[in-house]
């Protein structure tokens, strides 16, 4: 059973539909007490860092997520969920969850032909093996839509990078936390495989 954190983020039902398709049970919950007892958590997100943090705090989900993370339950952050697990976001100068040391940064692109948001399909390069990235092929592409990206302090916490103007971290994590800037639930068969890998992962290292 996977718990999906409900904090009014846009793609919650898409994540649940992806898991349904894989035959995996999941619950969408806004309740911090239910979340505290979860075995495995998906922390999705579409939208803006400041308003997301506001909702998380209002509902007490920020504390619950810290507890779940400290307890060692596997957590998958998606998109905005990969940014606000860090300490801070440049988006709205927002203090974030601090599950991982680092900051989410705005794209600074010198080439005017590169549009913002970075929207569409792009490849990732795995720089450090991880069970959740097992089977991802070099030529496979995943679906991104974002204007900020996560930058952990420790380069050891970057598992895959993507190229847009310059390389940026696309998959980050540490111990039982793994987080993807792209949307596995919207990335066709390649994305569903990553979701499946997460379902099978027990939160152990590489």
């Amino acid at each position: 059973m996977i718990h999906i954190v409900d904090y009014k983020a846009g793609n919650i039902t898409s994540v649940k539909r992806g898991l349904n398709h894989l035959g995996v049970d999941s619950i969408i919950t806004p309740d911090p007490d239910i979340l505290r007892r979860a075995d495995k958590v998906i922390f999705p997100g579409v939208g803006q860092a400041a308003s997301a943090m506001e909702v998380l705090r209002e509902r007490g989900l920020d504390l619950a997520l810290r507890e779940v993370c400290a307890r060692g339950a596997p957590i998958l952050g998606i998109c905005l969920g990969s940014q606000i697990v860090l300490d801070h976001s440049e988006e709205g100068d927002t203090a974030c969850l601090g599950l991982l040391a680092g900051e989410s940064k705005r794209f600074v692109l010198s080439d005017p032909a590169l549009k913002i948001p970075h929207m569409g399909w792009n490849r990732i390069r795995v720089v450090r093996d991880h069970p959740v990235l097992k089977g991802v092929l070099a030529e496979e592409e995943l679906y991104f839509v974002h204007s900020f990206y996560p930058q952990p302090e420790d380069p050891e916490c970057v598992f895959a990078v993507c190229e847009y103007g310059s390389p940026f971290p696309a998959v980050i994590g540490r111990a039982n936390l793994i987080a993807a800037q792209f949307h596995p639930e919207k990335s066709g068969p390649a994305g569903l495989r990553i979701l499946r890998n997460f379902v099978e992962w027990h939160g152990g290292g590489r």
Binding site: G10, N11, T13, S14, R17, G18, N20, H21, V46, G47, Q48, P112, A113, L114, K115, I116, P117, H118, M119, G120, W121, N122, R123, E139, E141, Y143, V145, H146, S147, E163, Y164, H183, E185, K186, S187, G188, P189, G191, L192
Partner: protein, 258 residues
């Protein structure tokens, strides 16, 4: 490097797939859910479901189509047609769409773009614009004018100015649909698409006129579009997603190959 996207547009009327030519004379050409799944399996990058249902009491049928597509198709898709309020947009997003497509209602009430962008994030809000080539006027100096109601009503608004305004208001993407090219299969409106793509920083999707792979190549290179919308080309089996992508790949356009 980001791939150029190929987006299949499915016009849906009363729950059935329709293909309009110059927005009139629609024909029933199949089941939208089945077609969406088929294109997904063939490697399409994205889908647009456009509700062309005439009467508003049939709107709930569209929500059923949206959730059925969302259960089977794991790529982004947007929904448009008849979305007038933030609540209308919320319903289709909740039913499983990734983005909403606003058009006529945004011209009548530009605040709809700002409000939806604030409520769901800019990446969820696609401003779709129907554009007619027209002699330049002081209000529309570019020679391109925004039309609404499926092309029937002229607004006097300049298309380039409206594209910029849409971006300022918080749209995350633009669909530029040329009324002149739509349904002709004679090629996209290259000058129009390029001028809008150069005027904004958000992605631009070219729409209307795609009749063969060369047309997509033109609009994704010369036309500076980030994505191209196709309809008849696929619906009538003139070509396939694979053939389109192979052609683009062989001619130096980066696309997602599956």
């Amino acid at each position: 490097m980001l791939s150029k996207r190929i987006i299949a547009c499915l016009d849906v009327r009363d729950g059935r797939l329709a293909k309009s030519i110059k927005f009139v004379d629609t024909k029933d050409i199949g089941d939208p859910v089945e077609t969406a799944r088929r294109y997904y399996e063939a490697g399409i990058d994205e889908l647009v479901l456009y509700d062309i249902t005439a009467s508003s009491d049939q709107r709930s049928i569209m929500l059923d189509v949206v959730s059925a597509v969302a259960a089977q198709v794991f790529i982004p898709f947007s929904v448009g047609g008849g979305l007038r309020t933030v609540e209308d947009c919320a319903k289709v997003l909740l039913a499983g769409a990734e983005k909403v497509n606003v058009n006529t209602a945004a011209v009548q009430n530009p605040q709809l773009i700002a409000d939806s962008s604030r409520a769901f994030g800019a990446q969820c809000v696609v401003l779709s614009m129907d554009v007619l080539a027209a002699p330049p006027t002081p209000a529309a100096p570019s020679g391109y004018e925004i039309v609404t109601h499926g092309g029937r009503t002229r607004t006097g608004l300049d298309a380039i100015a409206w594209a910029r305004r849409g971006e300022e208001l918080g749209a995350g993407e633009l669909v530029v649909n040329s009324i002149d090219a739509d349904g002709t299969q004679e090629g996209y409106a290259l000058d129009l698409t390029r001028r809008i793509a150069e005027a904004v920083r958000i992605p631009v999707v070219a729409s209307g006129g795609g009749g063969k792979a060369e047309h997509l190549h033109q609009v994704l290179t010369d036309g500076k579009a980030d994505a191209a919308l196709v309809a008849s080309l696929l619906h009538y089996g003139i070509t396939t997603v694979t053939e389109l992508k192979q052609y683009l790949d062989q001619h130096g356009v980066k696309v997602r190959l599956t």
